[in-house]
Symmetry: D3
Subunit: 132 residues, 6 copies
């Protein structure tokens, strides 16, 4: 099994609802350093998993819809907590849509899976893994 | 599959028995930077895998039993080598006991697995992965 | 010259005023991984610059006043931009007050200087350096 | 499941063929920071996955055949692109040969698998995973 | 004293002349992860050292002239070794020219100094520091 | 001003004397990831600060005298605490002796200074800087 991972980041404000979150119930923010990993069983005709440049562009495009925003104001997240793990799924699902729509080229449709990891600090991170 | 990882560290002395260890047969020591990863298939009602704050507290509690000690003097490790990989299992098993005892809350009982990684330097690390 | 550095982090929301900030004029947030470096010319009687444990506690206390908050609502920052570099000075000045008040012990009054670095992502950071 | 990972690096020149590579079609180069992960279900009689020192030596030996070279001149890579992911497989396969030939000792023949990750920059990496 | 640092990277091929370089006399390559640090004594009217976005753009522009190339073919480097430390100076001097030409805005002319660090692997780096 | 930094590590046991050290008064240990930085005003005839390979060898030789040992048993440290900052000085002074004895070659005698940083965990480090 092969994989390629690209890294980018986003900087957002949000608050979390539920006693479990303690002080994180207040409006605060985070830098998420985001790793997106693309997996496939065999390399394509160019000997790659996916074009690293295009993968980086698509990750950047997904993060551009979120960064420098207060996620509490984004209708897409109404009724859910934008926890690190929930946002990992959001980024992964939006990347998957782009892959399925051909944004990474035709051969990228043979990708098997995707993992998105959000590093919220030097001591905590969360991931979401899904098939493609 | 979702996961959340928290990081902490411990600083211990120990020696290793067996020719394979060469100079590490002498009493020496290590800083282990420890990552504990909690996995589950679906998020709980708060949209999280596990409370990051409580996960960090439990990891800290497990490491507090080991740090600033000479592991050669700890009866728990009699008859075994406290190699990096063996210690990864020790930390994982002790964390698992705590999870099973409810230390991370009731919904954490739905966790599927646990991975513990000990980084012993900038060029070597070891992991142990187990179900929960 | 000797130095000791301790690391912690804070997660805040804020917005920046001025065209130069582009999309960062919107309410957003950041994780700042914070390094505080304490410098002195000679070690004290215990052969240290400063007690690492107490230094970490004081840094944590300074960051606790800022983390999990919207800095736009903090009267201390009225009329200024809470840019990464300006926040580095805030953290350094608050740490310096604590050092001068004896929070790191008597011998810590012989410290020569302090550097605070805030890492805002994997690709950007800012520092402020001052005498003590 | 246990694993041990050792890290080393190589510095090579190469070019890539295919429009997808854009400017990387020109002769350029890369530092690959290489992680090799050895996996096994149970520890051996010394309580280890594999001797970290010997694992590091074998990884170094594999990389010594590649580093400080122009891979375009290496007959082993004729007709293929030396993409990061393809090189991850090359390193993994050469390590696997050494393991199978006994270079890590007899008990290392019980290893279950191997993962090799090449970090090509602070924002991109690729991996190849195979059984042993 | 304040500073702001931005990070980017370049991937180049080159060879080095001189017995001291051993195998690095062969054509090989490197990824340089590049940190550019801008220093000034006081913040500007926007409470910043320099606009991080523009600083990152200018660093990217300087690196774009070098990346994905064989530096042995670049007339700018005839008669010199493109060692990591020499390239740190090249990047710093080219950034300084841009700052002096106003590429970072008028207030950036008040910058006091510049440090450029090139990380060539996880175990080696070089820096060049100059006034502005 | 130019600099070159090389990285290596050592793994030692020790205890610290003095109430300030709390639990670190017990025998414990540490991995120190060690950075040695060599500074000079101008490059030598080969366009380098110092040969990175030889610098790495000399740092390795200095650390080889300390690693895999209990520093409490080393007569060189009688009557002092082997704190991180004190050990940074030990490593720097031993490296300086080697530089002065010609171990890095004749042109390395023109080095201006040396900084040694010991990272004791992901959240603490100490440095010592001296002229050469």
């Amino acid at each position: 099994m092969f994989s390629v991972t690209v890294r980018d980041h986003m900087m957002i404000a949000h608050s979390l609802r539920g006693e479990v979150f303690g002080p994180a119930q207040r409006l605060h923010g985070a830098t998420y350093v985001v790793d997106a990993t693309f997996r496939r069983a065999a390399l394509d005709a160019d000997d790659i998993v996916v074009d690293i440049g295009r993968a980086a562009e698509q990750l950047h495009a997904v993060l551009a819809e979120l960064t420098y925003r207060n996620l509490d104001d984004d209708a897409a997240f109404a009724g859910m907590n934008t926890s690190t793990e929930a946002l990992a799924q959001v980024v992964a699902d939006r990347l998957a849509e782009r892959v399925n729509a051909g944004a990474l080229g035709d051969t990228a449709r043979e990708l098997d899976g995707l993992v998105v990891t959000l590093h919220e600090s030097h001591v905590a991170r969360a991931s979401y893994e899904r098939p493609l």
